[in-house]
Amino acid sequence: MGEVIVITSGKGGVGKTTTTANLGVALAQLGLKTCLVDADIGLRNLDVVLGLENRIVYDLVDVVEGFCRLKQALIRDKRLDGLSLLPAAQTKDKTAVTPEQMRTVTDELRQEFDYILVDSPAGIEQGFRNAIAGADRALIVATPEVASVRDADRIIGLLEAAEIPPARLIVNRLRPGMVRKGDMMSVDDIVDILAIDLIGVVPEDEQIVVTTNRGEPAAMSRESRAGESYRSIARRVRGEEVPFAEMDEPTGFFGRLRRIFGQA
């Protein structure tokens, strides 16, 4: 029986879809059967980030409305064994699906897959309610900014109220140089304030833009630093202990020297 994990954030544009795509790739690379569900109905994005937009025939709403069977709507990624996508509808709105229907769909996917990752839309309204409906646990994405961390805190409260076990945090778009200069909150600052467990840190990485442009998630190649982070997160999701690379603090002699002189 597979596990359903929702990727959520509250604030928009902080990297939920990027995280879902890359974590999905990294889990599939570990040999785990993984299905990505785009719950952002009306604003579908996961298909283009994954480069699967040309293969969509049916979508989540078609499944829910009984126009097709779940299996028919799933798109298998031909580049990577074990990775599938259930796309969102682009023409409907969030009310086209109810939380109960969402739970039915994710429960059916559990029979087939090891992990089901649900990409939540921004906000705390019905789209969010749908996304968390069938979830066993949650990953919260936040960037090191006041508004993002604030919204993450709100989401943590709502997940607690929905009795979804303690969420774990992904800090995205961290810029270690800025943290060292005192111009950006550190991972420890954020973890301290939100009081939740960290599951990963993803640096700001130009490769994310390049790979998203191409529709080949960064985790598919070995060259991107962000891709490396997603691979670590995938192993932690699976329950492995993976040490955190020190991204906040400068390491080594030159790092310390730079810190003394206050440079990045």
Partner: protein, 87 residues
Amino acid sequence: MLNFFGRSQSRDVAKNRLRNVLAHDRADTSPEFMEHLRDDVMRIVSEYVEVGGQGVDLQLQSVEDHVALVANIPVKQLRRRGRPGNN
């Protein structure tokens, strides 16, 4: 920490603003939170003083760079000995 120009580092400013805003958010999004806190304070304080007037008034206030929990507790009279239960 202050930087070269004597301004607080934006990292510290961000942390303080967040702590501040989250204190208010958490209190606002959970109406029972302040109520429970007020009840508990009332219970403890009553062991030492006879609370008068409207009872315990609790408020979150932003003071300079931090959040303060400010209590206004009208006192009718102090009990002769604290913690009557232990007499």
